[in-house]
């Protein structure tokens, strides 16, 4: 696979660089761009980002592996995140996670064989008032129960 940003994307990289006094600071936004384009951050992608920003590959890998939201392996087209932290746990978030896990046949950070789904037991997402909550990719779904999880997941297929 050819790992290269398009001309427009490279302009966006330049825009991110221009926001900060030092080039290195553009690393997080550019890693976000890379993850959006390639779905996850392979070693090759990380090295490419490093070249773009004049950073050693070790630094890029160090940063990418520090933050949990940068995927270091391929994830599903739909990444299902279920919160089990305190506020959600008090309202059966753990049971909801177990239900989702059984339904998808996936464990924490696993991806289905067809590449459609991946599951993650996440820490607090900042939606405690809508507990228990799940997120599908970037979208939050609040006040969930088993039936609503069925509805959300079945509509994704």
């Amino acid at each position: 696979m050819q790992i290269e940003f398009t001309t427009e994307e490279l302009q966006e990289v330049q825009h991110h660089i221009s926001k900060y006094p030092e080039k290195k600071a553009a690393l997080m936004p550019v890693l976000w761009m890379a993850q959006k384009k390639w779905g996850w951050l392979s070693q090759d992608v990380m090295h490419y980002v490093g070249e773009l920003l004049d950073l050693p590959a070790s630094h890029v890998e160090g940063v990418a592996t520090f933050y949990t939201m940068y995927f270091k392996k391929p994830m599903g087209k739909y990444h299902i995140q279920v919160c089990t932290n305190v506020s959600c746990m008090l309202l059966k978030g753990k049971e909801l996670y177990d239900y989702t896990s059984n339904k998808l046949g996936l464990k924490h950070n696993e991806r289905s064989e067809d590449g459609m789904f991946s599951l993650e037991e996440v820490e607090c997402m900042g939606a405690c008032g809508g507990a228990p909550m799940i997120a599908v990719n970037e979208d939050f779904y609040e006040y969930m129960n088993n039936q609503k999880v069925d509805e959300v997941l079945d509509n994704l297929k």
């Binding site: 920003l53 820490e123 607090c124 900042g126 008032g129």
Partner: protein, 443 residues
């Protein structure tokens, strides 16, 4: 009848996130007023308001601003902390969604008073939608000439600054101010030693102030009404309004803007509609998961401000109130909190990196009914060895809730203990080093 409370950070105005609506409601007038004052006058107004930071530490905002060096040619920065990762806390996202221009206006006022070059708003990665919403508001403010070079002609001054949005990527630690700065600079989010404090050596080694989103969003109303007027709202020692995020076992969870010093029972029973099934309350965490809990039988007279909560050995924190009813398994909750801090420890300091893991494991075996009599004291001993021995406050944040829950609900922990279980210290030398002598176990 419900009492009417002042709402100044999240007023009840439809479509306030649109710049026309915001302008029609006195928007950007506080900035116009402030930019005609001298920077010191602005800081003095904020000092007079007695505003204390809303990110958890309750540091006086005006005082913090006055720490920024004045006679320097170096560029100075503001980092606005919207990392909001404390479990139980979900207030800042309401500001990004419903009142983003007030936050932008607050940034301009802060920027003028400290003569800043730029502000970086750090928003947690999970808030994809709110990063977009806030970026849209910033773009709108630029297009209308309130931010950037154009603001010179809009406000008729020589001052201008830029505002940038920076998206995190899932790390609780980045809510710690020095970790946030490292993250902004494109590094791993490791906290830095203090001193030097950010006001001397911050972002890119330049003087920097770090403020919470809610703190900055409170600035425009303060400038409009005057600091002295603002200081009259709520509790005298910790005045103003606070966004309380209430979650857990209440009928109407959500974010409520209320004056400080409001009774906790009013908040739970009148505002949030009480506990489902009219159950009794077993425990309340008043300010996000790192704050020690209150027992259900001690909340009778509790007032929700920093000075009042201190008397109960806890803090207002981020005002993330988590309510637990009588059926809650306290040990399981403690395990969930300990597991969170283990997951989020950045790994830089040994007491936190190892200690949070030990607490996680010990609590797991207690919950599984495999714990020994000594485990409860062992947990307290670990808390003592983490607290105060780490670079940043995550260590303390991990120790406080575990110690707090054990102190207030010890009987629940002891009820989980398996009597026949005998703790065998795998390393006798290590056992002898512990301060609690009785931690060396009989085989």
């Amino acid at each position: 009848m419900m009492t009417e409370y002042p709402r100044i950070v999240l007023p009840d105005i439809p479509d306030l996130h649109k710049i026309e609506v915001y302008k029609a409601h006195n928007g950007y007038q506080a900035a116009a007023k402030s930019l005609k004052m001298t920077p010191d006058e602005v800081i003095n107004e904020v000092k007079a308001s007695k505003l204390r930071g809303r990110g958890g530490a309750c540091f006086p905002t005006g005082l913090k601003w006055s720490f920024m060096p004045k006679s320097t040619d170096k560029p100075k920065y503001l980092a606005v902390n919207g990392d909001e990762s404390e479990p139980g806390s979900f207030k800042d996202r309401q500001i990004f969604e419903h009142n983003p221009h007030q936050l932008i206006e607050g940034i301009l006022i802060a920027g003028y008073s400290m003569n800043l070059k730029a502000a970086y708003v750090y928003i947690r990665g999970e808030y994809h939608k709110w990063v977009k919403l806030f970026q849209d508001a910033v773009d709108e403010a630029y297009a209308n000439g309130y931010v950037g070079e154009k603001m010179k002609s809009t406000f008729g001054t020589n001052f201008s600054m830029d505002i940038y949005v920076h998206k995190g990527a899932g790390a609780y630690i980045c809510g710690e101010e020095t970790s946030l700065m490292n993250s902004l600079e494109g590094d791993r989010g490791y906290p830095r030693f203090k001193p030097p404090f950010p006001a001397q050596v911050g972002l890119w080694q330049m003087p920097t102030t770090v403020n919470n989103v809610e703190t900055i969003a409170t600035i425009p109303p303060i400038m409009n009404m005057g600091g002295v007027e603002y200081a009259k709202i709520g509790a005298p020692g910790h005045p103003g309004t606070i966004l309380f995020g209430v979650s857990g076992h209440v009928n109407k969870p959500g974010v409520y803007e209320l004056p400080t010093g409001i009774p906790l029972k009013t908040l739970i029973y009148d505002i949030c509609g009480g506990v489902p099934g009219n159950k009794k309350i077993k425990a309340v965490i008043p300010g996000g998961s790192s704050m020690p809990p209150l027992r259900g039988d001690e909340i009778e007279d509790v007032l929700m401000d920093e000075e009042s909560l201190k008397k109960y050995g806890t803090h207002i924190g981020t005002a993330g109130v988590m309510v637990m009813d009588e059926d809650t398994d306290i040990v399981a909750v403690t395990l969930r909190i300990a597991h969170f801090y283990h997951h989020e420890s950045c790994g830089q300091c040994t007491p936190c990196r190892e200690g949070t893991g030990w607490m996680d494991k010990i609590l797991k075996r207690l919950v599984a009914g495999e714990g020994s009599q000594k485990d409860v004291d062992l947990l307290l001993s670990i808390c003592d060895n983490i607290e105060g021995n780490t670079i940043c406050a995550l260590g303390d944040a991990a120790a406080w809730p575990v110690r707090g829950f054990i102190q207030k609900f010890r009987e629940e922990f002891e009820a989980k203990v398996k009597d026949t279980r005998v703790f065998v210290a795998p390393n006798v030398v290590h056992g002898k080093r512990l301060s609690h002598k009785d931690l060396v176990f009989k085989v």
